[in-house]
C-alpha cells in the first residue's frame, strides 16, 4: 500500500520536474543558426576548397605527388632560353620559373581535403581557402582549372618547345657526328699503334639512332 502511494507521488513529482524544465526552456534564446543568412565564424585553419596562386607556381609537381587520391593533374612544358614565364618570370620570393604550367587541374570530386599537398609546396602557392559552398549540378563543374594559359596557348608553347628541342637535337646530332668522325680518324691513327677505346666509337652512332624518332 505504501509503495502504491509512493508510485503516485513519484510520478506526479517527476512529471512536475520535467514540465518545469520544458517551461523554462520556452523562454530561452533559440540556438538555431539560420544558415544562409547567419554564418558561424570558421576556424582559422579550416580545410576547404584548394586554391592555387599561379603567379607563384613553378610547376614542380610536388603537390600532385603528395596527393593520396591523385586528384591534382599537372602538365608542364620547358621554357625556351630567353622566354619569360608569366609576367615577370620569377615568383614573389624571387625564384626563377623554369616551366610553363599548361595544365593544372584539381578534381574536387576526388579531393579528400587532407591538406597534404599544401606542405610540400616550395613557394607556398597552393593553400586551403574558406570556401565550402561549391556544389554543382554536373561532375565537370568540380574540375577546376588553375593554369593561366588557355589550351591554345598551351599548344603553342608545346609546339615552340618541340621546334626548339628538334633544333637542339639536330645540332647535337651534327656535333656528335663530327665528334665521331674525328674520333674515328684519331682511332685509325691510334690503331696503327695500339687497340684502345673501341666502345666510345660505337656509342656515338647509337645515340643518334635513339634520338631521331623523338624529333619527328
Amino acid at each position: 500500500m505504501r509503495a502504491y502511494f509512493h508510485h503516485i507521488y513519484q510520478s506526479v513529482y517527476t512529471i512536475m520536474i520535467g514540465m518545469s524544465i520544458t517551461f523554462r526552456h520556452m523562454f530561452q534564446k533559440p540556438v538555431t543558426i539560420q544558415y544562409p543568412e547567419q554564418r558561424l565564424q570558421l576556424p582559422e585553419r579550416e580545410r576547404n576548397r584548394l586554391f592555387v596562386n599561379m603567379e607563384d607556381c613553378i610547376g614542380c609537381d610536388q603537390c600532385a605527388k603528395a596527393c593520396p587520391v591523385s586528384c591534382i593533374d599537372i602538365e608542364t612544358v620547358k621554357v625556351i632560353p630567353g622566354e619569360v614565364v608569366g609576367k615577370t618570370g620569377v615568383t614573389s620570393q624571387g625564384k626563377k620559373k623554369a616551366l610553363h604550367v599548361t595544365n593544372f587541374t584539381i578534381d574536387f570530386a576526388k579531393c579528400c581535403y587532407c591538406q597534404l599537398c599544401v606542405f610540400p609546396c616550395p613557394t607556398e602557392c597552393i593553400y586551403m581557402t574558406d570556401v565550402f559552398e561549391f556544389s554543382t549540378y554536373e561532375r565537370q563543374g568540380l574540375l577546376y582549372q588553375f593554369s593561366d594559359l588557355t589550351p591554345l596557348q598551351g599548344e603553342e608553347k608545346k609546339k615552340m618547345w618541340a621546334e626548339y628541342s628538334a633544333e637542339q637535337e639536330k645540332k647535337k646530332a651534327l656535333a656528335a657526328q663530327e665528334a665521331a668522325a674525328k674520333k674515328a680518324a684519331e682511332e685509325k691513327a691510334k690503331a696503327e699503334n695500339k687497340d684502345t677505346d673501341k666502345p666510345e666509337a660505337k656509342s656515338a652512332p647509337d645515340n643518334k639512332e635513339t634520338e631521331k624518332p623523338k624529333e619527328s
Binding site: I8, I15, G18, T22, P30, V31, T32
Partner: protein, 352 residues
C-alpha cells in the same frame, strides 16, 4: 437557453443548417493554428525557432501545408477494403465534430443543448474508435492493424476513468446538460467546480477531490485523443505511424484534423465541467466581462490554455509502454476515481 440562430431565423430547417457553420469554421481555424502552435511551442521548448519562412512568424505555414496536401495524389494500396478504407478518416472526423454539438461557447450559443449532453459527448466521440479500427484493418498493413487494435484497447479502457471522474460533477449538479453546468458555476472563480462548486463553507472538503478528478479527467481524455504520452496508436518509432501509414493527401490530413479537433473538444468539456465554462472568473463584479461575447472569449481562453497544457505534456513526457498504459488505467486511475465518487456520495449524504 435558446440558441441564437433559432432566435434569428425561427424554428425552421435553415437555422439548423446554419448552426454548425460557425463551429465548423472555428474547428478548421483551430486545427490549422493548433498545428502551427504545436510546432512553434515544441521549437521553443527545444531552444529552436520553429517555422518562420512563410511569413515573419510562419503564420501561413499550415495553410500552405494544407494546400500541399490537397494537391497530393490519394494513393490506395493494393487489396485494401476500398469502401471502409475510404470512409474511415471521415468517420473519425465526423465523430469528433459531432461532439462539438454540445459545447457551450456562450450562454446564447450552443449548437444543441441536450439534456443528456455529457452522456452524448462521451458516446459520440468514442465512435471515432470505429473509424480508427476501420482504417487500421482495411489498410492491408500489419502496422496499421497493430495501431488500430492498440487504439481500441486504449480508448475502451480509458472510457471508464473519463466517465467516472466526470460523474463526480454530475452527482453534485444532478444534471447532464452542458449549459446547466456553466450556469450553476456562476459568481466568480471560487464557484467553479475545481474549487468545489457553489455552496457553503463545507465545500472545502471537496476541493482536493475535485483537483484529483480534474487531473484524472485530463489524463484520460489525453489518452482518448491519442496524444503523447499515450500515442501508442501512432508510435512513430515502432509502428511507423499506426493507422496513418497507408493514407496520403487530404485523407491523411483528415486524421490530423480529427486529432486536433478532439483536443479542443475534450478541453471544452473539461472547461465546462470544472473551470466554469463560459463564466468570467470575476463573476458579476464587472458585468461587461460576463456579456455574451466575452463569454465566448472566456470559454476559448480556458479551453485553449488546456490545449496548451496538452501540447506542453506532449513535448515533455516520453511515450508509455502498453503494459504501463494498462497499469495506469486499471490500477491507479479507476480505483482513485471510484474512491472520489464514494467520497462525494458521503459528502452529499451528510451535507445535503
Amino acid at each position: 437557453m435558446e440558441n441564437i440562430f433559432t432566435q434569428w431565423f425561427g424554428d425552421n430547417i435553415l437555422a439548423y443548417i446554419l448552426i454548425p457553420i460557425p463551429v465548423l469554421i472555428w474547428v478548421s481555424l483551430f486545427a490549422l493554428y493548433a498545428v502551427l502552435a504545436e510546432r512553434k511551442i515544441s521549437a521553443w521548448m527545444q531552444n529552436r525557432i520553429g517555422p518562420n519562412r512563410t511569413d515573419k512568424y510562419g503564420l501561413l505555414q499550415t495553410i500552405l501545408d494544407a494546400v500541399k496536401l490537397l494537391q497530393k495524389e490519394i494513393v490506395s494500396p493494393y487489396r485494401t477494403d476500398t469502401i471502409w478504407y475510404n470512409m474511415a478518416p471521415f468517420i473519425v472526423f465526423t465523430a469528433v465534430f459531432l461532439g462539438y454539438a454540445i459545447l457551450p461557447f456562450s450562454s446564447v450559443f450552443i449548437s444543441a443543448d441536450l439534456n443528456i449532453g455529457l452522456f452524448y459527448f462521451f458516446s459520440i466521440t468514442s465512435i471515432s474508435v470505429v473509424g480508427v479500427l476501420m482504417a487500421g484493418w482495411s489498410s492491408n498493413n500489419k502496422y496499421s492493424l497493430f495501431g488500430g487494435m492498440r487504439t481500441v484497447a486504449q480508448i475502451v479502457s480509458y472510457e471508464i476513468p473519463t466517465a467516472l471522474s466526470a460523474l463526480v460533477v454530475v452527482m453534485l449538479t444532478g444534471t447532464l446538460s452542458m449549459q446547466k453546468y456553466a450556469l450553476i458555476q456562476e459568481g466568480g472563480i471560487f464557484n467553479w467546480y475545481i474549487f468545489g462548486g457553489p455552496g457553503d463553507i463545507t465545500k472545502i472538503i471537496l476541493i482536493p477531490i475535485m483537483f484529483v478528478s480534474m487531473a484524472i479527467l485530463f489524463i484520460s481524455t489525453l489518452a482518448e485523443s491519442n496524444r503523447t504520452p499515450f500515442d501508442l496508436t501512432e508510435a512513430d518509432s515502432e509502428l511507423v505511424a499506426g493507422v496513418h501509414i497507408e493514407y496520403s493527401g487530404m485523407r491523411f490530413a483528415m486524421f490530423f484534423f480529427a486529432e486536433y479537433a478532439e483536443m479542443f473538444a475534450v478541453s471544452g468539456v473539461i472547461t465546462t465541467l470544472f473551470l466554469g465554462g463560459w463564466q468570467s472568473p470575476f463573476g458579476d463584479l464587472i458585468p461587461f466581462l460576463n456579456g455574451p461575447v466575452m463569454q465566448v472569449f472566456w470559454f476559448l481562453a480556458k479551453s485553449l490554455s488546456l490545449v496548451f497544457v496538452q501540447i506542453w505534456v506532449r513535448w515533455t513526457l516520453p511515450r508509455v509502454r502498453i503494459d504501463q498504459l494498462m497499469t495506469m488505467c486499471w490500477k491507479y486511475l479507476i480505483p482513485i476515481t471510484l474512491v472520489n465518487v464514494f467520497l462525494v456520495g458521503i459528502y452529499m449524504l451528510i451535507f445535503n
